[in-house]
Symmetry: C2
Subunit: 640 residues, 2 copies
């Protein structure tokens, strides 16, 4: 079955394309003669690739208008991986043929079995074309468009109908080839087993295109291939936190754009906390009515829109409903108004230092049996809104239904509640740390029953590391077939390895490398000092254990960079998150290691590509931070 997309604005006009044949260039990028003689004023340098060392070298422009490539155009085919981010794991061949490209001339053909996939591909191609257009500087226009080639993309996806669900088992691999055909087109072919692989192929293709700043036009690497590229880890996430500071939809969309640029695939929304409940629950609306600060909440339509937007960009959205701690906003009102007793304790109580980690306090009341059906209601809302049920029921593949939180329970809070203490006494729980942990585990077990009720099958959920995941109790309390554990301890902590050895599946959010909100001081009380900032180099060099380890059944599913929200809202979310989260992305896709072909595991070997990728993100409207002086950008290796 072959389809032509009519949703794409590009035209597939072979007549006009024939005019372009004459300008297909030879193997040397510098052979671009700019016959028009017009150049941007005062471009004093162009760049040539030194193939031996794989670096673009500055060349003085002696006669304005006489050829030479801009730096980004040079980098497309220079070095082992050009300007690709993340580093492909497959076989890379970039050739040295560049062709001028007309961003308005993009067409695609889809080969495959699934109408659903075809529709997604059409949307993904539209995104791809938007990314090409974004490379053209504002006001620059495309000069000499008549000399530029159109792009014809053949997308073949082997997926069966109904396979458009992104899970930990999805094959995200793809192969990509570009050629300058005799028909005057640049032809690109992408082969993948799933929509998600095909989308990644389009992303890679977009990274084979650059704005030639000297020539004033887009160019594409027209003799390139990236074969068998697929991620090392299936879970490559970013956590953002609209519960501490609401994040407008436009800022969430932009995070997805940024993630797509580096093939991250999980947007983890820390949706609820003591500070806010910005999620619209249909089944327990009192939580939203009172927990969404001044009405700031995502509507079901917002979530549906985000979920689709993300899917088209290869990202699934994972909601976290944090419990039993980090729950307060809305729960005080729920306790008052639902007539079901005290559903949460310590809510907004002072002095906060005695009852929680950060203000305001709040923790669910595990001994109130009426609490659990309400949890079930929220789980059902989230499963519906985020498409988790569809994902779970629609396939035999594994996917977490949601993130159940589970961090930082403050035993002192529960210990301050007469109701809880009485219940523990009546039910034989000692009023010790062990007793409170057992109570917490009881909460977790009952919450999981509610989750299973929603899923209809035994559900998979994610939990943060906590006292419940310590080695001596974890197997008593958390079934390794049901829970994936997200480890947020420092890199030096050995617990994650031991959990792997016990057979648990893990996601890493290494606190002293991937907590991107660190380093900006403190907001609580009268304290000023906070955690140190983690520069991109530290983010990059945070290696994870291999995906599997021994025969325990334990597995590293991947990791997440985390931009917690206490000191960030939509205004500076990009600046704090990007491009550093892109370093996490390459770690998770490529897993650069110290052996064999991928011996170059340190950030030092990624630096130039990182700088190019940052500029690419900026071209797409992402307000990513700068990492070096522009002079260093233009003079590769001179600032080392």
């Amino acid at each position: 079955m072959i389809k032509m997309a009519d949703g794409v604005t590009a035209k597939f006009s072979r007549t006009s394309a024939l005019l372009c044949v004459a300008i297909v260039v030879g193997s040397l990028p510098s052979s671009f003669a700019d016959s028009s003689g017009r150049r941007s004023p005062a471009k004093q340098w162009s760049w040539d690739c030194d193939a031996v060392i794989g670096q673009c070298r500055k060349v003085p422009v002696t006669t304005p208008g006489t050829g030479g490539l801009g730096l980004e155009a040079c980098r497309l085919t220079c070095g082992r991986a050009g300007a690709l981010w993340p580093m492909p794991t497959g076989t890379i061949s970039l050739g040295s043929l560049l062709s001028p490209l007309n961003p308005e001339g993009v067409a695609f053909t889809y080969t495959g079995q699934s109408e659903g996939t075809a529709r997604l591909i059409a949307e993904a191609v539209r995104v791809f074309q938007g990314n090409l257009r974004a490379l053209v500087p504002r006001g620059a226009g495309q000069r000499r468009a008549g000399a530029a080639r159109d792009l014809s993309i053949l997308v073949s996806v082997a997926a069966s109908p109904g396979d458009d669900l992104l899970t930990w088992d999805t094959d995200e691999g793809y192969s990509l080839r570009t050629t300058a055909g005799m028909d005057g087109f640049v032809d690109a072919s992408i082969n993948a087993s799933s929509f998600f692989g095909a989308r990644h192929g389009l992303e890679t293709l977009s990274q084979l295109v650059a704005w030639d700043d000297n020539g004033g036009r887009l160019v594409v690497a027209a003799d390139a291939s990236v074969l068998g590229d697929r991620p090392v880890y299936p879970h490559r996430g970013l956590l953002v936190d609209p519960a501490r500071n609401f994040l407008p939809m436009t800022d969430l969309y932009r995070q997805v754009d940024a993630m797509a640029s580096c093939k991250m695939n999980v947007l983890h929304l820390h949706l609820t906390d003591t500070q806010g409940f910005p999620y619209t629950s249909r089944r327990v609306p009192v939580l939203t009515d009172n927990g969404a600060l001044q009405g700031m909440a995502y509507s079901p339509a917002d979530i549906a829109s985000l979920v689709h937007y993300a899917k088209v960009r290869g990202v699934r959205v994972l909601p976290e409903f944090d419990a039993p701690a980090h729950a307060g906003a809305g729960w005080d009102a729920a306790s008052e108004r639902l007539g079901k007793g005290q559903l949460a304790v310590c809510v907004n109580q002072q002095p906060w230092r005695k009852l929680c980690i950060e203000p305001p306090c709040g923790q669910l009341n595990p001994v109130n049996p009426d609490l659990y059906p309400l949890l079930g209601g929220i789980y059902a809302d989230m499963a519906e809104d985020f498409g988790a049920v569809e994902r779970l029921r629609g396939s035999n593949l594994t996917a977490p239904l949601l993130h159940m939180g589970g961090d930082e329970v403050h035993l002192g809070c529960w210990n301050s509640s007469a109701e809880i203490i009485d219940w523990m006494e009546s039910n034989g729980y000692p009023r010790t740390k062990e007793g409170f942990l057992a109570l917490w585990a009881e909460f977790q077990a009952r919450a999981l029953v509610e989750l299973d009720r929603v899923s209809g099958v035994p559900a998979t959920a994610i939990l943060w590391t906590s006292d419940l995941t310590s080695l001596d109790v974890v197997e008593d309390y958390l079934d390794k077939s049901r829970y994936v554990i997200q480890a947020w301890m420092p890199a030096a902590e050995t617990l994650p390895l031991k959990l792997l050895d016990k057979g648990y599946r893990l996601i890493f959010s290494t606190k002293d490398a991937w907590y991107l909100d660190h380093g900006y001081g403190n907001w609580k009380g009268s304290s000023i000092s906070g955690y140190p900032f983690h520069p991109w180099q530290v983010v990059y060099d945070n290696g994870l254990p291999p995906r599997t380890r021994g025969g325990s059944g334990g597995e590293v599913l991947g990791g997440e960079a985390a931009t917690w929200g206490e000191m960030v809202d939509g205004v500076t979310l990009d600046a704090k998150t990007w491009p550093r989260a892109a370093a996490t992305a390459e770690r998770l896709w490529s897993d650069p290691r110290g052996s064999g072909r991928r011996a170059k595991s340190s950030w030092l070997w990624a630096r130039t590509r990182m700088m190019s990728h940052r500029e690419r993100m900026v071209s797409r409207g992402i307000r990513a931070d700068a990492l070096q002086p522009k002079w260093c950008y233009y003079n590769e290796g001179e600032c080392a």
Copy 2:
């Protein structure tokens, strides 16, 4: 003389204003009845001022649509200084009368002698009105505009014609009163001795206006006065650095907007360095042609536009031409092409660690006599472009002609040049640290002669602290009547006090408090670690010595926050600079100290106002960072 501005779009229509009389409210903000019954959905709280503790307290909205103020509206008149930033030094009385305000109904009357001032005031009122409009959330519109009052501003400026020059002697003080007149207008009167004072009065007036999020309208404090407010220090600056990463004009304009919001008055442009020369020199164009990276340079028209834009907002633009170190970009080409011998040494040489502080290296050649006329050419260009000559010649007031840089001379660079070594030998300079310092001082003396040639009178210039400003040599080398010294050492360093005692004038850019680019890691070589981040609390608590000290003649002119540009460009300049530079601004305007009426000198007492000011900056399009969870914002004092 009385003038009406026709440049302001507001209309001065007394007929329609009369309709508003009925809605003038009493002394309690909570008496706003919202007769329309329409409210934003799910605003669960309003706020009342607790006058005893000076905090706005949350009140549940029990019946939607029945009054109550949004938080920012409440804060306008709550506490000693409402939401004003920086804290006025004069007498503050905020009343408690709020009036709905129509942002489209702004008119002003100017009383004064100067046509020039009248024109500037007209522009400043337009900016003021833009700031009011910016408070209205996108899409919110102004509800019930018919009930809102127009604003009539009477601006009286005592300045003589020709006084519109901002110097260290300018009286920036003003007095402001608002009243709800019987004519249906809110009347505001501003009295000042200079345009700059009047502008600050308009800024304060804009901070007496807020968006009432619950009522869906702008409100103004209509019974307020701020009398005799004037800055403690005359130099309140922000340094930005387009030499390391070019800063597009739009980003510079936005820095001026942000500075104006907190009454900062000096935008210090670090215009030249080894990495780039983004300044268009008419007299030495070879520097621009070769030093402006790929043509990125400010044209004279850009500079003129910036200088005017800044002036209207109470800011003067101070160019820095750094020398003799931090000079390289363009100078290599100048050496090649001008036929005047080697004008700079070590340019772009490797290994950089041996010849400079950061790559690329470069230092002017002090023994080449042909260098100095070129310096004079650049000085002349800058003096013309930045209006410094006009400022200097047009008054008897003191103002620096420009910033001469003078930091981080690397003696090893000069010591690597055979030409320099030979010259020193021939001229009796020992090849010791002392000898090189004498050479540097000789350079500085000859550069000053060039500067004087431009100014026509003995010029004042600013220099960074350096080996030349150390106690044992400073008086030999730097005339205290000619040089102002900008101290960038850590807060614990005692040199600045000793320089004050010697009679020098100082500007502080305390490295471990006001270097806002610190904390983001490193970009040089293979190093990762860098300086720690300075949270806003540290920025705020960086107190300066009193303006004068003993009878030495020494004077603290003020200070500058500095966002050096190695790791920032226009994309994240706001995020790194704001709102922290606003903490510097309050320190410099208000000098909160531990005695008398202004006993509350710590950030703890400024926290709530800072949070409001951050929101104000965001409303004006400044991408300032968030400092706390929104819950803390809504629950003043609960996160302390």
